[in-house]
């Protein structure tokens, strides 16, 4: 049995599309990436799974139980870090965290202090004095302090500085190694690549691909740019190359397949500069867009 089972989940806000016919499964112990541009429906999906909003159609189960009927029991074992963290401003961090802890049927105190220390969070400050990044840390501590079986992270790294991001990723890996299932939503491909085992791509409310990370990267396009004297674009016209074009002295193209084929071609040239990089998320979406359009 999968730990999260989503079946045909659809949400309209009035006549506005939230998500349409979203289905996926998350296995216990996975770090599941949920990636898509802003407004694609990532937050809507997470908020449905937490029963903060109700679906127009479809079903969602966590631990095999309907999230809309058994929400309170399920949420004992769920952690949630919202994308936008808003809290009662006039409270001290420690008071807010203690209040949050009071909802769980276990003692969270020790873990709360450990996490706050690890994330370098000052517990005695008032919430409304905190910067955005520090409020995010409050969210992280209160999402993890009860050691939930499943955690939903909605754009968790926004607002965190690079050092804290790395610490946070280490923390998530550690918790995952202890058995926590992670649902990780983001619009930043690189961080999903760093962390996730499997990933679902959502675009305009629809899931367009669910794949494990390795397959996705292997199958994905590379973006290649070659600068060389008197280069003819047709030189790179080999199978797997698309969007071939020349801009000034450089040849740009996308390539999908065994990268050695491109490297062999390159080695025969006297190149000035070469870059081979991951496509941006937008470019990946362009790819899915074109494929679904053709």
């Amino acid at each position: 049995m999968s730990i999260i089972e989503v079946e045909g989940l659809t949400k309209y806000y009035g006549r506005t599309r939230g998500i349409e016919d979203v289905s996926f499964r998350v296995e216990e112990g996975e770090i599941f990436g949920f990636i898509g541009p802003n407004g694609a429906g990532k937050t809507t999906t997470i908020r449905l799974l937490l029963a903060l909003i109700y679906p127009t159609r479809g079903s969602a189960r966590i631990f095999g139980r309907d999230v809309f009927r058994h929400g309170p029991e399920i949420r004992q074992e769920i952690g949630y870090l919202p994308g936008e963290v808003f809290y009662y401003g006039r409270m001290k961090v420690i008071d807010l965290l203690k209040y949050a802890a009071s909802f769980y049927n276990r003692d969270c105190t020790r873990r709360m202090f450990e996490l706050a220390e690890y994330m370098e969070l000052d517990l005695n400050r008032r919430i409304d004095e905190l910067s955005y990044g520090n409020r995010k840390k409050v969210g992280i501590v209160q999402g993890l302090m009860h050691s939930p079986r499943v955690v939903f992270l909605d754009e968790p790294t926004i607002g965190l500085d690079p050092l804290m991001q790395r610490r946070f990723f280490d923390l998530i890996r550690e918790e995952n190694a202890r058995g926590m299932t992670v649902f990780f939503s983001s619009h930043i491909l690189s961080e999903v690549q760093r962390l996730c085992h499997r990933v679902a791509i959502i675009r305009e409310g629809h899931i367009v691909e669910i794949a494990d990370m390795e397959t996705l990267i292997r199958n994905n396009y590379k973006k290649v740019r070659v600068v060389a004297r008197d280069i003819d674009p047709s030189y790179f016209d080999i199978p797997g190359v698309t969007h071939l074009e020349r801009i000034n002295h450089a040849v740009h193209f996308f390539y999908r397949g065994d990268i050695n084929a491109v490297l062999r071609r390159l080695s025969a040239l006297n190149v000035t500069d070469v870059t081979i990089e991951e496509p941006t998320l937008e470019e990946i979406f362009m790819h899915y867009y074109e494929r679904s359009g053709s």
Partner: protein, 269 residues
Amino acid sequence: MKANIYGFELWRKRNSILIWSASIVLVALLYMGLFPTFADYAAVLQETLKRFPPEYLEAFGMAGVDLSTVVGYYSFVFTFLQILLALQASNYGFDLIAVEEGQMIADFVVSKPVARAQILTSKLLAAFTALTITSAVTWAASFLFIELFREGRPYELRPLALMLGSIPIFQAVFLSLGLAFSLLTRGIRSATPYGLVLGFGGYVLNAFGDLLGDVKLELITPFRHFDPTYIAQHQAYDAPLVLLSVAMMVIALAFSYWRYLRRDIPAAV
């Protein structure tokens, strides 16, 4: 009911309880402090009042009021206390769910392992407890200042107890109405303007409703249902109107639960 939500919500209201209670004490002190003067010049005053148009006296709760007696005068003062009590209760009603949602902090509690009905019940009870504290302060201040300023004039306990005893239900009606109205809309960031319209609107409707002539719109306001002048004169509640208040409260609460349990919690977009 969840004890932690109840305790948290009540604790958050501590300043508000203090301010509303202090206002009540101040208004009661101010008006009751004038009682000896009013009582001394009662005969002159009654003469003067007779020259005012009856609608005007009605509007200010002075029709059929004998300002020279403790109970008569207090029933006049009680209207002002009612305004404060109504404002506080309506404020709490609008604040209960909608302001948290408007400020996007509702996610915090709704994503915890607790049912929506429990959240609403705990918050309602906390708000009602806060109102009950203010109600107790109203009792204490009223009797304290009556004793201080009555200068030996006698009074009957019954009408006073009836007026003060009406406070809890009076508050509960405004609390439930505020809550129900707040759930009809979205994006309320501050309860104050809405609370003001509901609480003060209720008073104005009662005060000036008679001017509307045949349209008996004033019958829907709790200010009319618990009219202190009526209570002072009849030494009893106007039972059908009190029942109307109770009915309004029950409907407002039923609607609020129905709506809140099915509601999408708003998020920042």
